[in-house]
């Protein structure tokens, strides 16, 4: 399973949840230390998504971020991004070789393949989206703390339900 270069940038401006395309990816990942001192390597993170609308086809795009961007979440550097074709109600994604630490996942169902979370001109998302812990925001995305989970020394599995 390979990651695809599709990070997600969420803009905290009311309901606006904007995902930017791959142009930001390189600069974003460069901000993340590849080797962090005093941090142990853990295993893989497996995320199982439920509630996908298979009939819409398209791609589920997910971004993994760590607590270095907690203040600006869900903006800020993406650790890994994965995009997978939606073929059923459930989809499993693996983010490999993580450092132990605190992370959050955001995801959206890119039904039209434009690599963006589409919104109306008033910033209302028109594609399904979700965060780890099934966190939802009020007038915007949830905080990093609300979506955060810990990756320890071993493999980790979480579940995210799309609404």
């Amino acid at each position: 399973m390979l990651s695809v270069k599709t990070p997600i940038r969420w803009r905290r401006a009311g309901f606006v949840l904007v995902a930017l395309g791959s142009a930001l990816f390189l600069s974003a990942t460069q901000a993340v230390p590849k080797v962090a001192p005093r941090v142990a390597w853990a295993g893989d993170l497996t995320v199982t998504f439920h509630g996908l609308k298979a009939e819409d086809g398209g791609t589920l795009r997910a971004a993994l971020k760590n607590d270095s961007v907690a203040e600006t979440y869900p903006d800020g550097a993406t650790v890994q991004a994965i995009a997978l074709a939606v073929t059923g109600e459930t989809l499993e994604m693996v983010f490999p070789d993580l450092l132990s630490g605190t992370y959050a996942v955001s995801a959206f169902h890119d039904t039209n393949g434009d690599e963006e979370l589409n919104t109306t001109i008033f910033g209302i998302p028109t594609e399904a989206y979700a965060f780890s812990n099934d966190a939802r925001g009020i007038f915007g995305p949830p905080s990093f703390a609300a979506a955060a989970f810990v990756v320890g020394a071993d493999d980790t599995s979480i579940t995210i339900n799309l609404p």
């Binding site: 401006a13 009311g14 309901f15 606006v16 109306t120 001109i121 008033f122 910033g123 209302i124 998302p125 028109t126 939802r136 925001g137 009020i138 007038f139 949830p142």
Partner: protein
Amino acid sequence: MNRVARRSFLGGSAALAASFACPFSQQEAVAKSPDWLFGWQNAASDHLSGQAERLFGTLPEALRGGTLWRNGPARHERAGVRYQHWFDGDGMIQAFRFLGDGSLRHEGRMIATQKYQREEEAGEFLYPAFGTSIEKAPVGSPDDLNSANISVLPFAGELLALWEAGSAHRINPQSLATEGVKTWRQDLLAAPFSAHPKVTPDGWLWNFGYGAPSANLLAVYGIDSQGVLRRFTALPMEPLGFVHDFAVTERHIVLIVPPFVIDESLRRPRTSFLAWHRWRPELGTRIVVLDKNDFSEKARLETEPFFFFHVVNARDSGSEVIVEICANPDAGLVTGALQHVMAGKWDTGASDDPRFARLRLNLNGRTDWQAGGTPLDFPSLAASEVGVQQSGFFAMTAGGVRGVPLYGAVARFSADGEPQSMHDYGESFLPEEHLFVPRAEASEPLDGWLIGTALDIRARRTVLSILDSRSLGDGPVARFALPYALPVGLHGKFAPA
């Protein structure tokens, strides 16, 4: 014939002027629950139905077969939690059906918004309201917290319950059941559609909406008489806050943005949408004038800072656009009295009064603002005069009684906002909006009836009165009483047979 206690002020102009001088009630603190507070309780049930008792007079033939539709906040409390602002409560659609035999039947039903249904299921409030912070459920779209509680519009075969920050809701006019949200175009999902759309004499419907807090955009809609959206634009306006009304003329649309705007530094958890707003008079009141034909921007102007809920009317006059407004000097009414009324306090001062004001806009940039006229609000015009020079209009205004919220009287005003005649409901009534309905074979545009509801404070029930527009000072020509009290509401529309 049981003529309910009432007073009329016709007679000397000095007496008339004096009675207009102090629109709202006194400022003294109310120690115990006032006798009118039942007007801000929940509706007695989610689905009300009752035959009205005719108290006096006869229902005019011309009104029979028609329906007065009304809307307003009607669910103020759940599970021991009481909303803190009048504008928070969930909407209830009200039908006052004027039957062919001269009787009146009322039906009211809570509007089944998504918010209402989810909170019914949960047994508690879950969503943020206009002036109360509740954060028990996520919000991804304004329609998640849409309370559909401001007004109602029968148009092009549909009955719409209107809010202002999100979609209108479609209501079945027979059953009053909620059929879903109205989406004017597929890409305008949950787009803001305000509660004061204007139907111009050509049959078109015009409306606007504010995108705040999600987007600093003003939506503008042009809808033909068949209900098809023909024109739409979204204009940037930053900063932005809630804006309740706008104006149309024969050639123009006028968007008026008072300097009561969202301050991002106030957007913190556990604060309400209203609390995010700050009065910033240094911004002035910003105005955008659009060409009605293609929605092109004709001018962006700035004038004195003022706040308003309602526009009286507007018109083109040579190279100018003139807008007449019920204007407040600041936003103190919405942050003060309209909040405190929920706690049984009516504490407005004279500076809170909306007063007749005239705004002259020269599209080359000059503006002229004349404020401080007669206190008035809830204006009602002849439909034939929307967007052109009115021959006069009707509005709620102060009566002689102190201590009761809102306005004690309904009056007829000249085109320049001078009071001409009025009916004062007296101390035992709390009148609501009154709507003008023209006579079919009218001798002049303002020849017809005024239809309005009022809370009968002593009898603890809602009454509906019909007044002759030519002789308001004589008091109602007919009055009906419902078997129950309705929560004090906001706006309505009369749909003739």
